[in-house]
Each structure stands twice: as structure tokens, then as C-alpha cells.
């Protein structure tokens, strides 16, 4: 094969170019991003130094909950990326008061962007009024249809256990179920540790902080 060196060089240059473009240059551009306390004042356009460091990372139980989120495959139907205002309807749907930017993800070891919105985006789920309580999430995970009759989300009732109500009355953390999905009298449904962890993780998901490059709108 006489033209082997030419073909080899051509392929090498093509691959090298796309590698440098996609990996090297974007790493050079974004690899140096650091957590910040500053945010942009929407009125004056000045950078103000705050107390809290952003983005925050899920810690303790919420961090364990992220593992549950991964192992239950939530990512196949839920994204964690918010489009900018005016592109799609993410802003109007309350999925975030601003678009998500690269800095939002820099402290996550595993980024769960997702590609499919069979269900709603969850980047800001912990801050949405409807889903900001533990009780709502437990009820929704145990029996999605009791929250929304048309929901097609699978039930995660296997993350909960049924037990006899003790002598001191129902447990404090028992799930408040509708009559249709409630167990027989004398029994109650309580979350396992995995369910508690998952709910902590979901509640930790929030996009309601300012970044210098992405102020809340």
C-alpha cells in the first residue's frame, strides 16, 4: 500500500485536531473553574462577596442518596440541566431561575445530566414549592399515582417497609398515604434508609444561587 503514510497522517491529524478541540481547549477554557462566594448584583452589575461557597455538594445522607438515584436509574427519565430563559420553557415551568452553567457541576464526581425528559428536570427540585417537603417525596416515591393520577413514574415502594404499628402509636416517619394505597389497619409504611437518603438528595438539588456568570433572573 503505497499511500499508507498519507492515509495514516490524514487520520492522525483529524483525530489530533478533534482531540485538541474537544478535550484540550475546553479543559483549558473551563478546567480552571473554582467554587466562588461572589455573585453578580443584578442591578448594579457589581461582583459582591458573599459568605456561602457555591456550588454546594450533597453531603452525608444526601451523598448516599445520590448513589440510590444512580442505582435506581432515575437518570434515564430525569435530566439535571436547565435551559436558558427563552430557549425551551424550563424557566416558565419553574425548573430553575437561571440556566445551569459548567460551574454548577465542578464539585460533582459523577455528573447526572441525563438526556431524556420522560419526567421533569430535577436540577432545582428541592426548591420547587410543590416538592420541597420530605412528606411529599415519600408519598410520591411510594405511590406516584396518588399524587398525580396520570403519572407514568414507576412506584419505588420497595424502598419502604410495612410494619405493625407499635404500642406507642404510629411512627413519626410513617408515610401519610391516601386511603387507597394505605395498608390494612394496624400497619404502617415507613421509609428505609435508602428512601430517606434519596429524599435528602432530591431536597439538596437546588439552583437558587447566584454565580458571577449566571445571575438568577
Amino acid at each position: 500500500m503505497k499511500s499508507f503514510p498519507v492515509v495514516f497522517c490524514g487520520i492522525f491529524i483529524a483525530l489530533a485536531l478533534s482531540w485538541s478541540g474537544l478535550i484540550y481547549v475546553s479543559h483549558h477554557q473551563l478546567g480552571g473553574l473554582e467554587p466562588v462566594t461572589e455573585f453578580l448584583d443584578p442591578e448594579t452589575g457589581e461582583s459582591i462577596k458573599g459568605e456561602q461557597v457555591y456550588p454546594r455538594v450533597p453531603l452525608g445522607q444526601a451523598e448516599q442518596g445520590k448513589q440510590v438515584y444512580i442505582s435506581e436509574g432515575c437518570m434515564y427519565c430525569h435530566t439535571q440541566q436547565v435551559r436558558r430563559k427563552g430557549y425551551g420553557s424550563d424557566y416558565e415551568r419553574g425548573w430553575g431561575q437561571r440556566q445551569s452553567v459548567p460551574r454548577d457541576y465542578i464539585r460533582q464526581e459523577r455528573v447526572l445530566l441525563g438526556t431524556m425528559r420522560t419526567g421533569p428536570d430535577l436540577m432545582n427540585v428541592g426548591d420547587r414549592p410543590i416538592s420541597s417537603t420530605r412528606e411529599w417525596h415519600h408519598l410520591h416515591l411510594y405511590d406516584p399515582r396518588s399524587v398525580n393520577a396520570d403519572s407514568i413514574m414507576p412506584s419505588f415502594s420497595f424502598l419502604y417497609k410495612k410494619q405493625k404499628i407499635g404500642r406507642n402509636g404510629p411512627s413519626a416517619n410513617a408515610v401519610q398515604l391516601n386511603p387507597e394505597s394505605a395498608p390494612e389497619a394496624g400497619y404502617e409504611i415507613v421509609p428505609t434508609e435508602r428512601a430517606e437518603a434519596l429524599v435528602s438528595y432530591l431536597l439538596s438539588l437546588s439552583l437558587s444561587y447566584n454565580l458571577p456568570e449566571a445571575p438568577l433572573e
Partner: protein
């Protein structure tokens, strides 16, 4: 991801149209006017179906790179449909065609049943066509609904369900086609059924002109 990478990718995706059109002209002009032969040959049936799919999936893929189109199709079943278009309607169908050509030449035997071959082709071709129509139309509609903030999210979900039912039906058809193929294949290779053909000529679904000439 820096925004300029996306812009470069849009340009690159549109540039892909050129080699695709060149390949498409080559592929389709080769069989132009020879449809009688295509219908007679299992290999050609699958390969021609696959090459038509190649042209369509590539052109749709380039279009999907445009920001205004992607605003609708991203995050929806349209993307899922596009993936099946490439991997099944193009690649898998070409591979089936290749198998129908290669295996008889390896085992010196004809395919035992032309009815099973026809069943395989029409079930898989019909099935994947239904799936692609359902996912593309349903996905496009889902994207428009998603971007319409006046429509509740649950309403968006509800309106995708009929399309997903159609997708289930298409999956059943494709599975039937695969079973037909598996029966024919094991019949020939394991049970050593099928007319022995030491010359290694092609299996044809119908007589193909005088002395079977033409498609070899």
C-alpha cells in the same frame, strides 16, 4: 461545554450532508430501474432498505444539529427514534442482508424457507417503520408541547402514550421477524436442512428472469 464547540459541531454536522449525498447517489443509482431484482433477492431487499435508511438517518441527523430544530427534538422520543433509525433501520438491516449472502456460501446450502425470509423482512421492515414514524412524530409533538409553557407537564406525558403504544406494537412485529430468522438459520446450519448447493449461488425468492441471471 463552551458554546463555540456547539457552533463548530453544527457546522461539521451540516458538512456531513455532502459525503452523505455522494454516497446516496452512488447507492440508489446502482439499483435504479432494477426493482424486480431487488424484490427477488433477500440480500438486496435488506441492503436496499438499509441504504435508504442510511440516507434518511444521515440527513435527519444533520438537521437535528441546528439549534432551532434541536430546541424541539432534544430531551424527547425523537432522539430515541433517531438512534433506532441508525442502529436498526440502517446497520442491522444491512447486516441481515449480509448474512443472507454470506452464510449459504459458507455452508454450501440454500436457505430452507423463502416464506420465513419474507416473514423476516416484512415484519422487521414494517416494525421498524412503525417505530420510526411513532417516535419521530410523537417525539416532535412532545418537543413542541414541552416548549409550550401553558401546557402542564403531565399533559405532555399523557399525549406521548399513544405513540408509545405504537412503539410496543412495532417491537412485537420486529420480534416475530427475528424468530422467523432464527428458525430459518438454525434449520439450515444446525439441522442441515435446505437444498444443497455446491455452486454457491444466491437464494432467490422468485424466478429472476431467464436462467436466473442478473442478481448474483
Amino acid at each position: 461545554m463552551p458554546a463555540w464547540i456547539i457552533t463548530v459541531a453544527v457546522v461539521a454536522s451540516l458538512l456531513m450532508v455532502m459525503p452523505v449525498v455522494v454516497t446516496a447517489i452512488n447507492l440508489h443509482m446502482t439499483v435504479w430501474g432494477l426493482f424486480r431484482h431487488v424484490l427477488a433477492s433477500p440480500t438486496l431487499l435488506f441492503v436496499v432498505f438499509g441504504s435508504i435508511s442510511y440516507t434518511l438517518v444521515s440527513l435527519i441527523g444533520s438537521t437535528m444539529a441546528l439549534r432551532s430544530v434541536n430546541e424541539v427534538t432534544h430531551f424527547t422520543h425523537f432522539t430515541v427514534g433517531h438512534a433506532h433509525h441508525g442502529v436498526y433501520a440502517f446497520f442491522t438491516m444491512i447486516m441481515f442482508g449480509a448474512i443472507y449472502f454470506i452464510v449459504p456460501r459458507l455452508v454450501y446450502r440454500e436457505w430452507p424457507s423463502s416464506a420465513l425470509i419474507k416473514c423476516h423482512f416484512y415484519m422487521t421492515a414494517g416494525g421498524i417503520t412503525i417505530m420510526l414514524l411513532a417516535l419521530h412524530i410523537g417525539g416532535w409533538q412532545q418537543g413542541l408541547n414541552l416548549n409550550n409553557a401553558n401546557l402542564d407537564f403531565i399533559e405532555v406525558v399523557k399525549r406521548t402514550i399513544p405513540w408509545l403504544h405504537a412503539r410496543s406494537v412495532s417491537g412485537v412485529l420486529i420480534a416475530i421477524g427475528h424468530v422467523a430468522f432464527a428458525i430459518n438459520f438454525f434449520w439450515m446450519v444446525v439441522a442441515r436442512h435446505g437444498r444443497e448447493d455446491t455452486e454457491g449461488g444466491p437464494t432467490l425468492l422468485q424466478s429472476d428472469g431467464p436462467a436466473g441471471e442478473g442478481v448474483r
